[in-house]
Symmetry: C2
Subunit: 412 residues, 2 copies
């Protein structure tokens, strides 16, 4: 029931056509101008002008002569996405780290970094200082190599306000009404790229959707496995944000009997029974290496996994409890959203070999639709970088929607 | 991250343009050809051809000369949607009635009927007989008046399979794997219009979205108030179906402590604490008039409302319990989906004066996002006809997407 697609002026239709060509090359691969004309229905002369513009803007480059593809292919000089020109950056602030990942327009990783950081203890100002340094260094490095940065997406847990760039309420890092984007802009100064704020789970979902959509999946739920737990929902191929961008706030649902105090001030929130805090509490006592926020998270999780593999009873029991507490919430999400995939991230993916079978069986038992509505539970392959990767993708998506946004020189 | 919009041939682009013009007239009202050309960006000659086709197909008609609108308006003969030519029919099978509603292309109600009917007791064959008779009579009546029927949407509760027209599992009417559309087709014979099956809650959501979208709402959840309870979700202006169309199956979630046996065979499902069965159980004993499935539902609900208005303690207590049990589920939906509106249908709307304030207060307390994420709870204005209305709208939407589908003569 969408309204008419209205192209009110020549320049907006040019932008739309540039975007259509660029997305075609991203989604379907390199091809000749003749083939682009066939695929898009645009006249050959128009395609020729559009590709010339994209070449000049260094968003695409001349590729190899296209080979015959089956019987319909025709030879011709192909064009392809140029990975060297434009980059998107995702930066993530989470409970015990600040991280960054950059992708070029082809989706290749061009930078990746994670710093152990006690965000709650440091407070917003010091955290934004560190984040800004990380981002500024990367922008400088990319620009030094002749690249342009299309945008930066900052990810935080909790309720975030896209329009104003404010973290409204993120209980696990103790932030309330922190104008994070304004803070970053101030620290990065003029000449900084476009910056946006988004919730960590939504960006994780976007990162998963790149792989999943290539396999035809249009509906998925990504579950973060952090200190807090949230979900990012892709429904019918679209990121579900909700009216104020707060969709996916499942961490504080009351799903499992528990009296555990939550960072939000209530008791028994779901994330206190499945989040990283629960895993650590179940598996080890304070003072254990795995509790130390200054040790890199991946190392701490690897330590726990070694214990599990060595058959340590307490670790295995901890993982069993996590799985038992996780299943009812996943079943509920499957009943409400009927996704094709539920993708488990963070520590759920890290310990997938101990969780997946049990959780899958219990979800299948509970979901009302026959055959669990066709829903499959899988492990994320993005490790701890999914959120930052989703942020970088979102920054690049602005280029794919309107390539002209990346065709003007950087303001530095 | 949508792919390119590709128009592969002239006839598909003609269909797309016919649809664009028709939707423009529906959404923005009557206007001259010159104005259509401005609004769509299509050349005037193209608009002239398109409107000629739509006129010939009786989807639009010549209207009045357009008046000046502000300073930019230009006089000219306006065209407008023709309500007389094409109709959509929605038919609903629910626990204790079979109903039908027809809309013309302008969205005006052209027929409405509800028959008290004990669907579970009658079984699928007898129920489909009655439904087919109701639909056949209406098709005949509309055709006798020179109208065409663009399509029929059949609504049932439970898990439905859009592609095959099969009711997979609808516990409250006792149907499992009933090929409902094939059954209707067989009964209506050749010459019957297009028929599709959809879940009642999704169609209710579509009906609500017509009003809500006019007020700028893009995200809403419609909650059916029937014997069973399901939700229909509109997210970012799109109906959320899920991978197999089973999204919104909330009736069997375990949200409120209860040992009540559910029609699905489990105990404590949410709908056993808020559905019409719960309301009747809380408010009256078996044998009471309000329990009688052969008395029209609206009359039974009206009887209960009179008791409430007269201050009957048991009725008021029943409504208080319904509200108490309803709130946690609505809060959960608000946390997950962050809708702008939650629209209460069926008996929730009927008894809204006793439910709304309490439920709203409790939802606001529970939802994690500040200010309940901007979510407002409202009562449906469509009474018991929302689902059938949504079905009729869906049938007509096919015409708005591809007007040529309704421009060939009926096959009778």
């Amino acid at each position: 029931m969408a309204g008419p697609a209205v192209a009110r002026d020549r320049s907006s239709s040019r932008r739309a056509n540039l975007g259509m060509v660029l997305r075609l090359l991203r989604d379907e691969g390199p091809r000749s101008r003749a083939r682009i004309s066939e695929d898009t229905g645009l006249p050959k002369a128009t395609v020729s002008n559009l590709t010339a513009e994209l070449l000049e803007g260094r968003l695409i480059r001349e590729g190899e002569a296209e080979r015959d593809r089956g019987t319909v292919g025709r030879p011709g000089q192909a064009v392809e996405i140029d990975g060297s020109g434009v980059h998107g950056i995702g930066a993530e602030i989470n409970v015990d780290y600040v991280s960054l990942l950059a992708l070029n327009l082809k989706g290749e990783v061009t930078a990746e970094q994670r710093i152990p950081f006690d965000v709650r203890a440091a407070g917003p100002d010091a955290t934004l200082d560190t984040t800004a340094q990380l981002v500024a260094r990367e922008i400088d490095a990319l620009r030094r190599d002749g690249g342009r940065v299309a945008g930066v997406t900052l990810a935080t847990p909790g309720a975030t306000d896209l329009a104003t760039g404010t973290v409204r309420f993120a209980s696990n890092i103790g932030w309330r009404d922190v104008p994070a984007i304004a803070g970053l802009r101030e620290r990065l100064g003029p000449g900084a790229p476009e910056m946006h704020l988004e919730n960590d789970a939504k960006l994780g979902a976007l990162a998963e959707y790149v792989t999943a959509s290539a396999a035809g999946v249009r509906d998925l739920v990504f579950v973060t496995g952090q200190t807090g737990v949230g979900v990012g929902i892709i429904a019918g191929g679209q990121l579900l944000r909700g009216t104020r961008g707060h969709a996916g706030e499942v961490g504080h649902l009351q799903l499992v009997p528990s009296e555990q105090l939550c960072a939000c001030g209530r008791r028994g929130c779901w994330e206190t029974t499945i989040g990283r805090g629960a895993l650590l509490r179940y598996a080890a006592d304070p003072g254990d290496l795995v509790w130390d926020p200054m040790v890199d998270l991946e190392r701490r999780l690897a330590e726990l996994r070694e214990r599990a593999r060595a058959g340590d009873a307490r670790t295995l029991e901890a993982l069993r409890r996590i799985g038992d507490n996780l299943a009812p919430g996943l079943a509920l999400l499957a009943d409400i959203l009927n996704p094709r995939l539920i993708v488990l991230g963070g520590h759920f993916a890290f310990f997938g070999e101990y969780l997946l079978d049990g959780v899958t069986a219990r979800v299948r038992e509970r979901v009302m639709a026959p055959d669990a509505g066709g829903c499959e539970i899988v492990l994320s392959g993005t490790g701890l970088t999914g959120t930052a990767r989703g942020g970088a993708l979102l920054a690049l998506d602005a280029v794919y929607q309107d390539p002209t946004s990346a065709m003007t020189p950087d303001r530095h």
